[in-house]
């Protein structure tokens, strides 16, 4: 058959996959190994991948030696959740509007939203800094939530729109015939049908919001108690002696929840990501 591979092809493909995965996963493996070492053997020559003094001590000690670690992890989740909530409130009505109605300026507006995707947050950092300064939002959660949400909205609109486009128009027409108002129709007829799409958009927005929190926190927030995990740990980089084992342990612990979510929902996330991106 067409999909039948010869033995040599199989060996070739699997070795290529192995090399690929080593590149992708090596930093995680190394981070995990470092997190298992006492700090003296982290700084040891010659290099060893395995050693016999492995311990989970760093996972215990870090909570006391990295003050505020629990708070950083909470902040990361809190900021990502707020970003997602704010973004979704913007995304759903806008995507519905773009997918269902025909009006003057629709295409130019959609294009304008897409164009935002071109501008990285770092380019606008100066006026954003001034904006946060004059609104009195420096050193607050808002200084990370507001820009975080604004930069995830365009992609979300795009993705959500592709889900709305797939819902047959007859559904709304039937509701209108029955005398339902348009807001009521959106709320009670369309949203329930679009729920799978909404879930995908919510999850991808959350993962993006969780993954990209560094720049705004680094620039707009100087208060330690509001820092997300990324900047919280980054502060340790300036120190004389970095407790690498604990930094790695904390990194892994802070990442684990999103990794687990991803493993369970990866089918939907992958479908959602690729649906919006390649076609359009």
């Amino acid at each position: 058959m067409i999909h039948k591979y010869t033995l040599w092809e199989k060996i070739g493909l699997y070795s290529a996959i192995a090399v690929f995965l080593i590149f992708v996963l090596a930093p995680f493996a190394e981070a995990f190994m470092v997190s298992l070492r006492p700090i003296e053997s982290v700084f040891r020559v010659p290099y060893q991948f395995f050693s016999d003094d492995m311990t989970f001590a760093a996972y215990v000690d870090m909570w006391s030696e990295v003050p505020g670690l629990a708070r950083y992890i909470f902040n990361s989740f809190f900021i990502a959740a707020c970003v997602t909530l704010l973004a979704i409130v913007c995304i759903i009505p806008a995507a519905y509007s773009f997918s269902r109605f025909d009006y003057r300026g629709r295409n130019s507006l959609l294009t304008a939203f897409l164009a935002i995707n071109m501008v990285g947050a770092a380019v606008l950092i100066i006026p954003l800094y001034k904006l946060m300064f004059s609104l009195g939002l420096l050193n607050s959660y808002w200084s990370m939530i507001l820009p975080g949400a604004a930069f995830t909205v365009p992609t979300g609109i795009f993705l959500m729109r592709s889900y709305f486009l797939r819902i047959p128009k007859e559904l709304e027409e039937a509701a209108y015939v029955d005398g339902a108002g348009r807001l009521y129709t959106l709320w009670r007829v369309i949203l329930p049908v679009a729920l799978p799409g909404i879930v995908v958009v919510t999850i991808t927005t959350f993962i993006t919001a969780y993954a990209q929190q560094f720049l705004f926190a680094l620039t707009f927030n100087g208060k330690d108690e509001y820092h997300p995990l990324t900047v919280g740990l980054y502060q340790f980089f300036g120190r004389e002696r970095i407790l690498w084992n604990q930094v790695m342990a904390a990194s892994l612990v802070g990442t684990l929840p999103v990794l687990i979510v991803y493993v369970f929902l990866q089918k939907y996330i992958v479908a959602g990501l690729t649906a919006g991106a390649v076609k359009e």
């Binding site: 470092v34 109605f101 071109m118 604004a150 690729t274």
Partner: protein, 316 residues
């Protein structure tokens, strides 16, 4: 829901529905506020956080703004930029982007081919390839910065063990190796998504094409070259363009690994702007540098949007 169904041409039923809806709309012809009202939340957020800052960047670039005071200085900032080593930074930025995007597309293409191979374990491979995209970028970069450590890191350690280098090699301490190290980390972060997009494009190719070619005796490589590559070429182009824009805008990776050093050898336009504006609080000069970035981005965006407009027209 597999991505494959997305790419089938619209059936006749959908077209009829579209026509009907359009006809219905044509009948009641009055300006309808509802669709505009739906756009309000997204528009307000975007105007405040993106549109206004864009305009403000241009305005500030003609001032000598610091925090709390500013006065108009004309094009002085732009004159100053070109007296610095701006061309060098620009050349470096494009080299960094070009190298990164090329490698991401190549690796992504290889990854997509491997993910597409009908082998047992494919589902697991698909899960295992994504972590670089899932973890916060900064945390992935923390891991890399340890990997690059000369004394105790994995890369230098293994290279010594296999006799590739004599002593410890501090990757982030020398210009060229630091530059390449930041590229490698950027490729690591960006490859999974590229692979995923290209995989989706490959899976949208009708299998009949392959079967027909196979019946005619075409080998695997021939089928890849004559069917897969031509058909995913538009996707490759789109992904390359998007990836170029993202890479151009990239900040976290370089900042965490090197902060633009050593001696400026990893300073891209973004890093340069950030240093000028935020580290030294020279908003005016920084804004002029940001405008130069926006000029470059506009060129990319123009190509991208032209491409979009074309695909949207074929959607109808």
């Amino acid at each position: 829901m597999s991505a494959g169904t997305e790419h089938q041409p619209p059936g006749p039923i959908e077209e009829t529905a579209e026509d009907l809806a359009a006809g219905g709309r044509r009948r009641r012809r009055r300006i309808d506020a509802f669709p505009y009202l739906l756009l309000i939340p997204a528009t307000i957020l975007t105007l405040v956080i993106v549109a206004w800052p864009l305009i403000e960047t241009f305005r500030l670039s003609f001032t000598d703004a610091r925090l709390g005071r500013e006065s108009y200085v004309g094009v002085e900032n732009y004159v100053d930029i070109f007296q610095d080593d701006f061309w060098e930074i620009m050349r470096r930025t494009f080299l960094w982007m070009g190298l990164g995007v090329t490698l991401k597309i190549l690796m992504g293409l290889i990854g997509a081919v491997l993910l597409n191979a009908a082998l047992p374990g494919r589902a697991l491979f698909r899960v295992l390839i994504m972590p670089p995209w899932i973890v916060p970028i900064a945390i992935g970069v923390f891991m890399w910065s340890w990997m690059y450590n000369g004394q105790f890191g994995m890369i230098s350690g293994l290279a010594q063990r296999f006799g590739l280098i004599d002593g410890p090699f501090e990757f982030l301490a020398y210009g060229t190796s630091a530059f390449l190290a930041t590229v490698v980390t950027d490729v690591w972060v960006g490859t999974p998504l590229v692979a995923l997009y290209l995989l989706a494009a490959m899976q949208s190719i009708p299998t009949e094409l392959y079967e027909a070619a196979w019946t005619d005796g075409a080998g695997r490589w021939y089928r890849f070259r004559r069917i897969t590559l031509p058909l995913i070429a538009p996707s490759i182009f789109t992904v390359a363009l998007l990836s170029a824009i993202w890479t151009f805008n990239s900040f976290d990776i370089i900042w965490i690994l090197t902060e633009g050093g050593p001696r400026g050898s990893t300073t891209t336009m973004i890093i340069d702007t950030y240093k000028t504006a935020i580290s030294r609080f020279r908003f005016g000069e920084g804004a002029a540098r940001a405008v130069m970035i926006l000029v470059c981005l506009t060129a990319f965006a123009g190509v991208y949007l032209a491409l979009m407009a074309r695909t949207q027209r074929t959607d109808r």
